[in-house]
Amino acid sequence: MISTKLTPTTIPDELLGSYETVIGLEVHCQLLTESKLFASDTNRFGGEPNTHISPLTLALPGTLPKLNKKAVEYAVRMGLACGCTISERTIFDRKNYFYPDLPKGYQISQDKAPICVGGAVTISVKGKDHEVTEKTIRFHHIHLEEDAGKSVHDGNQTETQLDYNRAGTPLIEMVTEPDLRSAEETGAFVTEIRRLARYLDVSDGNMEEGSLRCDVNVSVRLAGASELGTKVEIKNMNSIRNIMRAVEFERRRQVATLENGDSLFQETRMFDAETGETYGMRVKETMNDYRYFPDPDLCPVVLPEATIQEIRSRMPALPRELREKFVSHYGIPAYDAQQLTDTREMAHYFENLCSHTNAYKTASNWLMGPVKSYLNESGTDIADFSLTPQVLAELITLVETEVISHSTATQKAFPALLQAPDRSPRELAETNNWLQNRNTNELETLVDEVLNAMPDKVTAYKKGKKGLMGLFVGEVMKKSKGTADPKLINQLLAEKL
């Protein structure tokens, strides 16, 4: 007998399709504050091990926490951006457990009265027929907490080294409702969260450095079932691609397990990026009792409406607001708006650009075309882009007013300007003789010359070989040394032929 057991790889699509995947996330987002959540030492990634460790970070006896107000403000910003209710009174709790990278033997977190409650973000996902649909993912809450240090197992099985630099750095944990249904949605959601965090300047969202990490809860159930299945938590995911891979693997594994007649149990699993599989942690899992209780060293944080409004007033526009504005005010397509709002810097650049030119769609094309290609090739960011919006706008205007041709602008003027960002595009075009020749008489002479030089081709064209038009245009352009307006050449050629 050969085994008929299904595996995550052999499970047929129609079986998979009869199940629904339910995903909930806990997103940990490291805040970009100057100092730690409760201590004055620097909050920076990296540095020699154990260089950012005050007595408080090491939990020396006699130390007391002191709340970083900036971290509270950042959490409120994120909460407001997600439409959460900001708690007027929020408290910090101690989460008690022993681990060497947790200096106090408890983590200061929030349990019963988190700073933000509810809220949601909207994500856009491509459906089967490439149709983009929107979906709202709700939050259970967002809370503030401190990070732990790092345990380093340096190949040596008997020794663990501890680096407490990260201990005490501020995090927000964003806990969703189980609203996600696929790897794609999950990827889109994390991307949106990262974008929001960056827009709001609350986090650099850098997943490789661990500024943004996720615990992913996955369960499956038969389509149409109302009860949730047994969930599995995949811990410490640190790239969007891996999150998606893990979700996909896990749903296949769970469906295969159920279809094989086996049962799932609630557990914590890790994702192996090499194999693309999740695996259970071999340690026996005991129910952890964190013995949460309000931290008596900290007072409740009271956030009056006025404070919340003040924070709100200082918040930059959100990606969604900008997208809507770009479509309604600048009249660019939704796709363009989506692309241009991917980062706050790009969105700002576009807005700035639009204050210097009315050719909004052209401006958008420039950014999504030549500018983006250049940024990709040079591996740089719009924030470091050497051309000011004024200069780019001037170049766009030169094209719009047909002073120079589009191809000259993109192929000659743009690269030249990148080399000399301080020069004026018009002056540069004049010096280089890039101005379009719109002198009809001159061009007519050139057209005649070209046509007279190739009577065979003219005959062929007239017999129907319309493709030869390109050749004629190219020849005239050559004779004009690239200065002729292609539109005008076309027009003249059509008349003569």
Binding site: G62, T63, L64, K66, P100, G105, R291, F293, P296
Partner: protein, 486 residues
């Protein structure tokens, strides 16, 4: 050696040239050696204290000395001082040195106090007899077979025996007042949040208070005045202004000539559990106060019996978490036997902590555990609120609540070690102030037939230390007056 009741007396002699700081430190050092058997000090800073005395003598000559010049101070082994060991009377903090100084200690140092050493106490300030210290029990100077009380036992005995002019202790459930009473000295527990806790090794964060142990109310007022007030390092410390307590000790002036309204706990005067001699003494004081025109009435405090259970549930809960950092990973004692992480924790903490500390950690862990949290922790928090409300209500009718500090005078060493519940009863009258957060003071009120000190406690509204100290000075004078007349 001449014994000074107040720092003001001492400073008069300093200014008159009758003594110097160096002389004083030398005398205290000699007495510490002489009374070594009391085991009051864990460590004595001989050279450092002498050097500092020399420097302060010079500042005195130049009229540049601080307000505490001449004050030779001992600090309880739960207060951090930069560059000095601090162990909370525990094995688990072996070899530990603090890199920073407690705010309260720093403020005293800034006014030229001289710290002569750190003082023995119950391990992590958990105890009422100073028998739980890793450094062994402290002995009462009045009778070395008896306890000095706890947990600030070393600090109280040091003042009692004249080993230093004053001490700094900590009071979580009576740990300043109870030993002060057993040793016949003054012990002040300020309002919760009056003095910064930065640099105080935590036992129970929402109860812990740093307080002075002195020979006089005047010195308690002066030390509090200097230590109290806002501190960037402690979010729970009050930003209220600190009155000049030491300049406002005249009760008549403070009260505007009004007689005081004093309530005394009926339980304390009538209960069989309170030693007859203590009840008698309390009765005499009540009569004296009445004779002096004050309104003294019995008050009911039905919730009094819930103070101790509330206190033990909440303090052990907080302690179980506060003491988690002592794990042998970063500092202090680590067991030799650490084959894996779990045993690193278990062995270190089993070997490093004493019985009483382990008992309280276990109890606290239990009351915070998921299945019992509501039955114990949540309920105790509710009861704490009720006790607070009831006490505050009482204190709208009365300026002060008067009681004995302890139900008995100092008991014998070993007498209650096998019976934790009996031991806990030693704090029956003191815990209320910590549960509520009110200020309270222990002042000496004579001795029993065996020559053991009886202490009197006065408690008042939060942040009314000015009134409390002025009235305490008044009562203290009233109590000692008849003897003077005779």
């Amino acid at each position: 050696m001449k014994e000074y009741l107040t720092l003001a007396d001492l400073q008069r002699d300093l200014r008159a040239g009758n003594t110097t700081c160096v002389t004083l430190v030398g005398q205290y050092l000699a007495r510490i050696r002489e009374y070594q058997h009391l085991n009051a000090f864990v460590e004595v800073y001989t050279d450092e204290a002498l050097q500092r005395a020399e420097a302060i003598d010079e500042r005195l000559t130049n009229n540049q000395a601080g307000r505490l010049a001449g004050l030779v101070l001992g600090i309880k082994d739960v207060l951090c001082q930069a560059g000095h060991s601090v162990q909370a009377g525990s094995h688990i903090l072996d070899q530990y040195r603090s890199p920073f100084t407690a705010t309260a200690v720093q403020r005293l140092l800034d006014e030229d106090a001289i710290i002569i050493g750190r003082q023995n106490c119950d391990e992590f300030a958990m105890g009422s007899s100073n028998e739980s210290s890793y450094f062994g029990p402290v002995r009462n100077a009045a009778d070395p077979s008896r306890v000095p009380g706890g947990s600030s036992g070393g600090s109280a005995v040091a003042v009692q025996a004249g080993l230093c002019h004053a001490s700094l202790g900590s009071d979580t459930g009576g740990s300043v007042r109870q030993p002060a009473a057993f040793c016949g000295v003054v012990g002040l527990k300020p309002s919760y949040g009056r003095v910064s806790r930065w640099g105080l090794i935590a036992y129970a964060s929402s109860f812990d208070c740093i307080g002075p142990i002195t020979r006089s109310v005047e010195d308690a007022a002066l030390l509090l005045e200097i230590m109290a007030g806002h501190d960037e390092f402690d979010s729970t410390v009050s930003t209220r202004e600190v009155p000049d307590y030491s300049a406002q000790l005249d009760w008549m002036a403070v009260s505007g000539q009004q007689p005081a309204r004093v309530g005394y706990l009926r339980e304390s005067l009538e209960s069989e559990a309170v030693a007859p001699e203590i009840r008698e003494r309390l009765g005499q004081v009540i009569e004296q106060l009445r004779a002096d025109g004050h309104a003294v009435e019995p008050v009911e405090m039905p919730l009094l019996k819930y103070c101790l259970p509330t206190y033990y549930i909440l303090t052990t809960a907080e302690a179980s978490s506060n003491l988690s950092r002592f794990d042998g990973v970063r500092y202090g004692y680590r067991s030799e036997d650490t084959p894996d992480l779990e045993r690193l924790y278990k062995n270190t903490r089993t070997e490093g902590f004493g019985d009483e500390v382990r008992r309280r950690i276990l109890l606290g862990t239990f009351v915070l555990s998921a299945s019992y949290y509501d039955a114990y922790y949540t309920k105790a928090q509710s009861v704490r609120k009720l006790i607070r409300q009831e006490t505050e209500r009482l204190l709208t009718h009365y300026d002060f609540i008067l009681s004995p500090v302890t139900p008995t005078t100092a008991f014998r060493i070993g007498e209650k070690m096998d019976d934790p519940l009996q031991m806990y009863l030693a704090d029956i009258f003191t815990v209320q102030a910590n549960v509520v957060g009110t200020p309270a003071i222990a002042i000496p009120a004579g001795t029993d037939q065996e020559g053991l000190s009886i202490g009197l406690q006065l408690m008042t509204r939060p942040f009314a230390e000015k009134e409390l100290l002025a009235f305490s000075k008044y009562v203290s004078d009233l109590i000692t007056m008849p003897e003077k007349v005779e």
